[in-house]
């Protein structure tokens, strides 16, 4: 099993405020890893650190053998790391198709994901390709956000609370999609507050609490009481 990305003793700061404390984390090719935790635990901070939106110590993050902790976001995506940000964060003045095309801005890899394959995966987007994203439903917007990230053909896909505010049936669809993406060889990190949903599809999980990893393992070996304790810090 080849380790794609490894975080070692990762501390993250917003100005003077420290949000992550010595986090150790890793993910291998073809894995779905869940990161769970309560509000404010530091889940988004972990993903933003990986994606380069937060500057870290040079060797706190390694991509293969390369230390990438201090790479800016615009370069991290070129390595093959794509983030689906919390709250979707689409570009409101761009159409659906333009949002997807911006995702392919780097143009480094064009397979397997391009406009055609994203539209095949989310057929409803093909119908709305010329609409402004602001008029789409929440689920459709989430599909655009995922499609936009896929357009860069990432090796590692980071998904921040992609099920938030969506109907259960849509959530199931999206997670089926993630499993297919994983089967295509892409590693996937899913951040969720919904423990059950997250653990159902994940190969492994980490539980964050107040900026520290409290528990990690495979969903099958962890019992729900231990997880609840790590989650709420009781």
């Amino acid at each position: 099993m080849t380790i794609l990305l490894r975080a070692s003793a990762l501390d993250a700061f917003y100005g003077d405020f420290q949000a992550l404390f010595g986090v150790n984390f890793q993910i291998a090719r073809g894995e779905i890893v869940a990161v769970i935790g309560a509000n404010g635990a530091g889940k988004s901070t972990l993903l933003k650190s990986i994606a380069g939106l937060i500057d870290n110590r040079h060797d706190a993050l390694r991509w293969g053998d390369e230390a990438i902790g201090d790479r800016p976001a615009a370069e991290v995506v070129r390595l093959g790391i794509a983030l689906v940000p919390e709250g979707r964060q689409l570009f409101p003045s761009l159409t659906v198709e333009e949002n997807l095309l911006v995702g392919a801005y780097c143009g480094l890899r064009s397979a397997p994901w391009d406009l055609t394959s994203v539209y095949d995966a989310f057929p409803v987007l093909r119908e709305r390709r010329d609409s402004r994203v602001t008029v789409l439903s929440g689920g459709q917007q989430q599909m655009v956000a995922i499609g936009r990230a896929l357009m860069s053909n990432p090796t590692l896909l980071l998904c921040d609370e992609i099920s938030l505010g969506l109907a259960p049936i849509v959530v199931e669809d999206i997670y089926r999609m993630l499993a297919r993406i994983r089967d295509g060889g892409t590693a996937v990190v899913v951040v969720e507050q919904d423990i059950v949903r997250a653990l159902k599809s994940a190969d492994r999980f980490y539980c964050l609490q107040e900026g520290r990893i409290r528990l990690s393992g495979t969903p099958s070996e962890a019992d729900s009481d231990t997880i609840t304790a790590a989650y709420f810090g009781t």
């Binding site: 615009a74 070129r78 794509a82 570009f91 761009l94 333009e98 801005y105």
Partner: protein, 292 residues
Amino acid sequence: MMDWLDVATQGILLGGVYALFALGLSLVFGIMRLVNLAHGDLIVLAAYFVLFTSSMAGLPLGVATALAIAAMFVLGYLLQRFVLERVLGDEIMPPLLVTFGLSVIVQNALLLTFGADSRRLQAGAFETGSVSLAPALKVGLAPLTTLVAAVIVIALLQLLFYKTSIGRAFRATADNPEIAQLMGINQRRIFAIAVGISLAVSVVAAVSLGVRANFDPSIGPARLLYAFEAVIIGGLGSLWGTLAGGMVVGIAQTIGARINPEWQILAGHLAFLAVLMIKPRGLFPGAGHDAR
């Protein structure tokens, strides 16, 4: 009794000039929320560049213009990377003050280099030539070309924004700079290119200015104000709106000048203040998402 058709035509043609002045300003505001107080002086700088390479160094006007477009693009790129980038942020004061300082520097550097004399670009018969649009309506060739140039520049910018990858990058960055970086868009480079394009466009404005009228190092701020009025009247962020705004200023100035030559400029300012009073968000608020 004034000839209304003639006034309207002259005003619209003048509006083309002001729109050209305004496009660069509108562009950088739309993409990066930068208000460049040195915009007028940079247009004058471009005019002197063309003057120097054509009249003084003997290059044909077209070649000199092309050279100036390249030079001003590079200047804009470097200006953003080494100066403006350091002060762009949440506070509005630093970029205003730096561009104001730049305005004073450019003005006085031109004054020291070229003196205070009025200059003009030599364009041969083109300067004075005219065409008849209707039996009683003759318009100057130079003003007409200026208007056509403004329309072409706007159309090209629209193509750039809506049909190219870098255009999408501009608009995505304007929408949400942080997320745009996640797409691999290098914001610093995008902003620098935007300022570069803004100054490149200002060369077209500079040539149209220099062929039509005299210029000297001190006229920059006045051009900035006309440009600004065109942008505000048109509605922020709409390039076609800017063209319409330029025409409103142009027509107001032409009417003012017909009543009393001393009132030309004042009439333009008053029209602007009147629009501000009635429609503070401009005539076409949010009409387009051009450049935003």
